[in-house]
Amino acid sequence: MLKYEIVVIGGGPAGLAAAIEAKKSGAKEILVLERDMELGGILQQCIHNGFGLHVFKEELTGPEYAERFIRELKDMGIEYKLDTMVLEVSDKKQITAMNRDEGILNIQAKAVVLAMGCRERTRGAIRIPGTRPAGVMTAGTAQRFVNMEGYMTGKRVVILGSGDIGLIMARRLTLEGAEVLGVAELMPFSGGLNRNIVQCLEDFDIPLYLQHTVVDVEGKDRVEAVTIAKVDERYKPIKGTEKRFDCDTLLLSVGLIPENELSKSAGITLDNITAGPRVNEAMETSAEGIFACGNVVHVHDLVDWVTEESRKAGRNAARYVSGQLINTENKISVQGINGIRYVVPQEIRPENLIGKTEFMMRVDAVYQNVKLVAKSGDEVLRIVKRRHVAPGEMENMVLDLGNMDPKTMKNLTIELVQEEGA
């Protein structure tokens, strides 16, 4: 049995940042396990720019952003294994993994950081009627084919879902000479970042059909046509609003799902809304000593926030290993209400808080002129004004909880309040 202080599962942006920060925080024996052939995760196929504005104050491509962390990891001498699949994690922090060269590996860790990221929601999960030919694929898979393998996936393309990867691929395929005929979005607003709507669709005159969905796919072997239709307020297609596109490709960008099969195998409690592990102020899951960060916890829209969250997980994993993390029974729940879908972390142990604490959250719809109001019981802790909030853009709020008396702290809520007179 191999022994490490900290084993990080996943060598994408979350795992890299967690491992590096754990090392900086004093942990010595750290191992990163990555299932792909290289470190960096999905960033390696995100060759567009827009990464790093917050963390590095400059605009980098995905591979450039990843490279900075990979370099740092290697310079620090942190151990990693590539092309290595983790098969199981136990709540006792025993890990079974496998690769070509070493076969089956049994590893005992003192702390584990889960950083497996997320996967794309597929066609089956959203009930698109019609045939099942080649040419229907998720935007991320198409991105891998185009950017990593160097092959185009079609010439005339319809995209369902306005998630960021779909928007990015609309631009990418257009630049490669394909014709993107339109993007259909079920909701009355896009699920992607506003900057991507402007830079990837508007700049290329690609129409965005809000409140539309795909009602038919034709073609036995390869996609021949896709029909979209407008939906009513209950998301049911409205007869007579159909638009049929002759095309050979349907890309799906209909949401991301945290990859928590390993978390489940370890018996970790998942949050119904985020579909990721419930975590505390230390990014620790319900299993003591097992931490989680990045898209496996909740799907982020900017990698910069993944990095920050993962640093926190790495730092706390190191604190845990050295016995500095205080496990008290005094647990304060954190809840999003009235327009806030969820807040991460879902729980805090006030005795562990030093200085300021950052909370990440998503709203449930588009709102104008609102206030984010944080309360401890009935006591208002902080009010932040926002002119515009949308589900596609993660919100954050920093609370100065370190100065509060842990004994008097009550369960925290964060809610949306419409500004009066607005």
Binding site: M85, R119, R123
Partner: protein, 480 residues
């Protein structure tokens, strides 16, 4: 010249070809698709029926019970997943209780063993997720589940290992009477054969009418399904049929041999025999059935929807006969449910029919001494013991490399199914044999890597790797 040509490499054709390969005969197995089992066999309920549905005295009744009994041995020999998990027909009211009593009696008449009518409590003990309002159920111990395409693929592989010639991409376009037997035009070839066995599924009538007077017509009927993630695979433990009514045989909820949950089928007559689309209406009808049967069902766990086409005929019974006055042509048509269950018994029966024509056609039936009923077992890495896994990786490191993250399928397993006889040449062909891409991500992660392996092993360009059928290209050209 071939002694026998079997048209159609679905479950019936592969069973017959494999049964015939026990004899010293030259046998040709033709299919229009680029893989075996690519029609009805790849999209059905995957059930081995007990045999209480078929009307007494029909071929369906006869071959269902006999076929069911043959599954243990054949699946053991061919290393195909098969589980005799038992089946239930549920009854939620007095009328349905009456119906299941009728089915019980029919089962007795058909010779179905080990059936019982269960009381409410017994049913709920067996299936805790059924609605409390259940009144009772017909339990049949011999009901089971099987991997249908795995079975057909295994049969084809074993048949080829025993000397059968398999020709894919060979749609039969003409059958002419020759000096002896027939000349069958398929693909760009003309094959001479003494005897033709028509197992063409939904095209059975078309093949028949190439040489015979019209005696039946296939009435294609589509069934739609929802397949759920393994996390809800234990929702039921047995094959749970809805109670049949005038509206149909009843929708089924069952675990698959791989641990997923399967729901379906709907039943809709269609015109186009290739029309395997799914529809809002069809999927809604099966989902409603699940809502009415189970306490709770999360449709967000659906990982894929699909449909298959039944080869229905007006008589609603199998057509297994030689056209009037012919000794050299056998129709095996109208093989809809319980066709999968009946297939081994049909094959046995068809071989007897062939033997009866033996004298007329100058065929002799000498059993081969070297017939091998067993297929080289396929490798399921995750099911091996840690020691076996270790040994296998030491022998071939590609078994240490996971390609499919959802189902934990290794590179070694994928290469194995490509290299076998009647092996995989397409992405879906690999998926049907080794399962990468059949998990929750539906190939999102592994498809590019499986394509790389296919391209490498078959020595073709990535661009030429197909998803499934002939025109199902995935990549169009290299990027700029």
């Amino acid at each position: 010249m071939y002694d026998i040509t079997v048209i159609g490499a679905g479950i019936t054709g592969t069973f017959i070809a494999r049964e015939l390969s026990k004899y010293d005969l030259s046998i040709l197995l033709l299919d229009k698709e680029n893989d075996v089992s690519n029609g009805t066999t790849k999209a059905n309920s995957a059930i081995v029926h007990a045999g209480y549905d078929a009307v007494e005295g029909t071929l369906k009744a006869k071959f269902n019970v006999r076929g069911n009994d043959m599954f243990d041995e054949i699946c053991r020999d061919l290393d195909v997943p098969f589980k005799r998990i038992g089946s239930l027909v549920t009854a939620f009211n007095d009328e349905e209780m009456e119906t299941i009593r009728g089915l019980y009696q029919r089962g007795l008449n058909n010779g179905v063993p080990d059936m019982r009518i269960l009381e409410k409590e017994e049913v709920l003990e067996m299936e805790a997720n059924l609605k409390e309002s259940i009144q009772g159920a017909l339990y049949a111990k011999t009901g089971g589940i099987v991997g249908p395409w795995e079975l057909a693929i295994a049969l084809a592989e074993n048949a080829v290992e025993n000397g059968v010639k398999l020709e894919l991409n060979s749609a039969v376009t003409a059958i002419e009477k020759g000096a002896v037997g027939y000349e069958v035009t398929a693909g760009n070839q003309i094959y001479q054969t003494k005897l033709v066995i028509n197992c063409a599924g939904v095209y059975g009538d078309r093949i028949d009418q190439m040489v015979n007077e019209k005696s039946f017509e296939i009435m294609p009927n589509r069934g739609e399904y929802n397949l759920f993630d393994k996390s809800v695979g234990d929702m039921v433990n047995t094959v749970v049929f809805g109670c049949p009514s005038s509206a149909g045989k009843g929708t089924v909820i069952l675990p698959t041999v791989h641990g997923n949950l399967l729901l379906g089928p709907s039943a809709d007559p269609i015109d186009n025999r290739e029309d395997t689309r799914t529809t809002f209406a069809g999927l809604t009808s099966i989902n409603d059935h699940a809502k009415n049967t189970l306490r709770e069902i999360g449709f967000h766990n659906v990982i894929t929807s699909f449909s298959g086409i039944r080869a229905k005929v007006a008589t609603q019974d199998f057509i297994i006969e030689k056209p009037k006055g012919k000794e050299d042509f056998i129709n095996v048509a109208g093989i809809d449910s319980p066709g999968l269950t009946a297939a081994p018994a049909i094959a046995e029966y068809v071989v007897e029919m062939v033997k009866e024509s033996g004298d007329a056609l100058g065929l002799t039936f000498n059993e081969k001494e070297d017939f091998n009923p067993k297929r080289t077992p396929s490798i399921h890495f995750m099911e091996l013991s840690p020691k076996e896994q270790k040994q296998l990786i030491e022998k071939d490191p590609s078994f240490g490399r996971i390609i499919c993250r959802c189902e934990y399928i290794t590179e070694g397993e994928i290469v194995d199914v490509i290299k076998r006889k009647a092996g995989a040449t397409t992405l879906d062909g690999v998926k049907r044999r080794a399962r990468p891409g059949s998990g929750r991500c539906q190939g999102g992660f592994c498809a590019p890597r499986v394509m790389e392996i296919l391209a490498r092993e078959l020595d073709v360009d990535m661009k030429d790797v197909l998803k499934d059928g002939k025109g199902s290209y995935i990549l169009t050209e290299q990027t700029k």
